[in-house]
């Protein structure tokens, strides 16, 4: 590696102030620090540092998303094969169908998002920050497989600029960037974001008889007859195992609760995600789903789902594990995290059950609580302040 380092060091001056490519300084620096850990040593305060940095943290999150991502690609292929009656169900055939179907989305998200990050970093004279490495993979995973790339590009640009960069970049945003992208798509292009025709990639092939591309929650939301069985794309009822392992249509990265659990194990084992948020989120969702299930009514067919089905279907598990735990937009106090997680879980299920206009409530619940996280922290911190005031002799 010494040779490579020497080579890069030799072109470095051209990227510095006054150099030929000084306009690309941030980009160069981004790649440079990606390849070689900076040799900067401490100037003040402690003389030694923990090895964990922002890059490592983000990479661990991306790593924890890989099981969901790979399964999602395979599942896109599976749903396509089922819908079109393709008899070839071999692993690689299905996987590569899905891989090619979602690759343009992933590339679009990264190119647009990172492009904006590079430009902003250069204008501000900052280092390039790694936050979008995670957002860039999260965004396609929570979108329908048939989302056009231009829509995705517009939404990513909107979210990165207006949800993140205007507030100062990674670490200063108060809304989750991936979910703002999703919300923008949802409200700007509703016909491409919900309904029966967006969650399965047919790839121009005619579907088999009896095909329906509606997601389980979409079927329930649209039901007018009360309790119904949720069906797969070919019209067979879905078992609980299908729901848990994710063999049904949906936003392609978030259907498999099993793969999400693998990701959760990675995040909790490395201590990157807060177990408090995940635990209280699951408790909140379970509690609300149980309540809804006990008072199930034909008016709101989703309430017939059992709590476990509620937790396994749709984007609930994905939102709790990967969205609610975003440390920048979540509560920062431990007490606050319990409240924050619980409310996300409960509100996601409330929206899902009692607002038939929105088949899934996880996105809106997380965004809503993003807005309230600072308020929750404020209350928690204030109790600390009051405790301090109480023991003080000098008041004011």
């Amino acid at each position: 590696m010494k040779g490579l380092k020497k080579k890069i060091d030799s072109v470095k001056p051209q990227f510095e102030k006054g150099g030929k490519f000084s306009k690309l300084h941030s980009v160069f620096d981004g790649f440079y620090t990606f390849l070689f850990t900076p040799n900067e040593t401490s100037r003040s305060g402690v003389h030694i540092h923990d090895s964990n940095d922002s890059k490592r943290t983000m990479i661990i999150v991306v790593l924890s998303l890989i099981p969901c991502c790979l399964f999602g690609m395979w599942n896109v292929g599976l749903q396509h094969a089922l819908a079109t009656g393709d008899p070839d169900h071999s692993l690689f055939h299905l996987f590569f169908y899905g891989f090619w179907a979602v690759l343009p989305q992933i590339l679009t998200a990264y190119i647009v998002g990172l492009g904006i990050e590079f430009v902003v970093a250069q204008i501000r004279g900052h280092e390039i920050q790694e936050g979008f490495l995670v957002s860039g993979i999260l965004i396609p995973m929570i979108c329908p497989v048939s989302t056009p790339c231009w829509m995705l590009a517009v939404a990513v640009a909107f979210a990165v600029v207006f949800a993140k960069e205007v507030f100062g970049g990674t670490g200063y945003n108060f809304l989750n960037v991936a979910l703002v992208t999703r919300a923008f798509l949802f409200f700007a292009y509703p016909s491409k974001m919900s309904g029966d025709n967006v969650f399965v990639s047919l790839g121009g092939v005619h579907a088999v008889d009896g095909y329906s591309g509606a997601t389980p929650l979409g079927q329930l939301a649209a039901s007018t007859t009360g309790k119904i069985d949720v069906l797969g794309v070919t019209g067979d009822p879905l078992s609980y195992a299908d729901m848990f392992f994710g063999f049904y249509p949906g936003s392609w990265g978030e259907t498999s609760t099993f793969c999400i659990l693998i990701g959760l194990v990675i995040l909790l084992a490395t201590g990157i995600a807060s177990w408090r948020i995940v635990l209280s989120g699951v408790v909140g969702g379970f509690f609300m789903a149980l309540l809804a299930h006990n008072f199930a009514t034909p008016l709101y067919p989703v309430t017939y789902l059992s709590p476990l089905e509620q937790l396994s279907l749709g984007g609930f598990a994905f939102a709790i594990v990967f969205m609610a735990t975003d440390p920048v937009t979540a509560c920062r106090t431990n007490t606050g995290k319990y409240i924050y997680g619980f409310l996300i879980g409960a509100i996601a299920i409330i929206i899902r059950c009692y607002n038939t206009g929105y088949p899934e409530g996880a996105m809106l619940a997380v965004l809503l609580l993003n807005c309230f996280s600072a308020l929750i922290d404020y209350c928690v911190v204030n109790s600390n302040i009051n405790r301090r005031l109480k023991r003080a002799t000098v008041k004011n």
């Binding site: 040799n39 923990d50 964990n52 490592r56 301090r388 002799t393």
Partner: protein, 442 residues
């Protein structure tokens, strides 16, 4: 029986280079210096000129405002230099040891005001700190309480109190008790058999920062707005005891020479402010590419080979500078020798009982505060550190007060700074915040 307090939040960094208990006498050092930067608070004025002859205990610098607080020469000899930096700021006053020491005698069996004057004149006063602001105590302000810590839990720290000093501790605590209407609290390491009648003794167990006096204050009786407490270590307390009984200002010190780049880590007995090069002569594994720290790796001051031992004069740590490491894709490393308290690196698999080699790299880029709850795990105070730090960065005095700035000193933020993923200079932030607050409130 002393009350036992268990500190749960904290961490003992497994740094290689623990000192043995062998003490060698320093016979080499002939140059000593006192650096006023080590004593924040007063504006210091030099009262000696180069080539002037001084005795051990004669003042080198006095505080400009009252003239009462002094920094004294540790040895008898001639003033070599009053070294000034930018804007004539005094960086150090050095004295070369010369001739027989004839220490100044400050009186004997002193009590009350007489004792206080002696402490001020002997330079021991400046070895104390006050909270709020973590500065040399203002002699005009009576403290609510006085807190003394009898152990150092920082990485590779040696034993604090030697046997020869321990016998003066009780006398020192008695003297301190006479300087406050409140109490003197003595924080000892769990299991050590120090007892005291003059002070209320608390046993502390748990990881660093259990030995930090700030941690002990937070656990015993936190500082509130409008209150002042004094803090010091048991060495200074014992020296105060020796001073009031015998009139001698003890300016000797035992320095632990530690760290992965020291051949044979051990203790050295010398005087405060000894020059570094004679202390580390032939003691290092290598001569180039090292960082010499006077103090421990968390709160110490980086010094050059031609520099001097800095306050609190009890440890030197030598580590690799590491600025030539050129680590390829360090963020992807699975090297078990790369230390992290988090389990995102495999270091935890080999366990933290085996020592690690650290270098001085910050190992990442500077970022905004991203992860939450990192600091809290190593910060044993009833304070929300992230919120306090943000208030300091925003220079919001009202919020700083409410969130507890009067209770903290920069050293309390050393461990949070060590574990920080975003590599923010927390101790510097807190120091700046305290200075800003003091300026605004005066």
């Amino acid at each position: 029986m002393a009350e036992k307090i268990r500190i749960k939040k904290g961490f003992d960094i497994p740094l290689a280079g623990m000192p043995s208990s062998i003490v060698t006498d320093d016979r080499l050092t002939s140059l000593f210096a006192i650096s006023p930067d080590d004593f924040p608070g007063p504006v210091w004025k030099a009262v000696v000129k180069p080539e002037e002859t001084v005795n051990a205990g004669d003042p080198l610098l006095v505080d400009k405002a009252t003239g009462k607080v002094r920094l004294v020469s540790p040895v008898a000899g001639r003033v070599k230099e009053v070294h000034r930096g930018e804007r004539r700021h005094i960086e150090y006053v050095s004295v070369s040891k010369d001739g027989d020491p004839q220490p100044v005698n400050f009186g004997n069996n002193m009590k009350g005001n007489e004792a206080k004057e002696a402490i001020l004149a002997s330079g021991l006063w400046a070895m104390m700190r006050q909270r709020p602001f973590d500065i040399v105590p203002d002699p005009e302000v009576a403290p609510r309480d006085i807190f003394v810590t009898a152990f150092d839990s920082a990485p590779l720290a040696g034993e604090l109190l030697s046997d020869s000093l321990a016998k003066w501790l009780e006398a020192g605590l008695e003297t301190l008790a006479s300087l406050t209407a409140g109490k003197v609290y003595l924080g000892i390491k769990a299991g050590s058999n120090i007892s005291s009648k003059a002070a209320e003794v608390y046993e502390f167990e748990g990881p660093h920062p259990a030995g930090n006096v700030g941690t002990q204050i937070a656990a015993i009786k936190p500082v509130n707005k409008g209150e002042t407490v004094w803090t010091l270590d048991a060495v200074t307390a014992a020296k105060i005891g020796k001073l009031v009984k015998t009139g001698e200002a003890d300016l000797t010190t035992t320095v632990a020479l530690t760290g992965p780049d020291v051949k044979d880590p051990h203790l050295i007995s010398t005087f405060v402010g000894a020059s570094i090069d004679s202390l580390i002569k032939d003691a290092l594994v290598k001569e180039e590419g090292v960082r010499i720290i006077s103090g421990n790796v968390l709160t110490g001051t980086r010094v050059r080979k031609d520099g001097f031992l800095r306050f609190p004069y009890r440890q030197i740590t030598v580590i690799d500078e590491g600025d030539d490491a050129d680590e390829f894709m360090g963020w992807a490393s699975v090297n078990p020798g790369k230390f992290s308290v988090k389990r995102s690196f495999p270091a935890f698999l080999r366990g933290f009982s085996k020592p690690f080699h650290f270098d001085a790299r910050i190992k990442g880029g500077h970022r905004a505060m991203i992860l939450s709850g990192e600091y809290d795990k190593v910060f044993p105070f009833d304070i929300y550190p992230e919120f306090l730090l943000k208030a300091i960065m925003a220079k919001d005095i009202d919020k700083m007060e409410k969130l507890g700035i009067y209770e903290v000193a920069p050293e309390d933020f050393a461990l949070p700074e060590f574990v920080d993923t975003s590599k923010i200079e927390l101790q510097k932030t807190v120091r700046d915040g305290l200075d800003y607050l003091r300026k605004e409130l005066s």
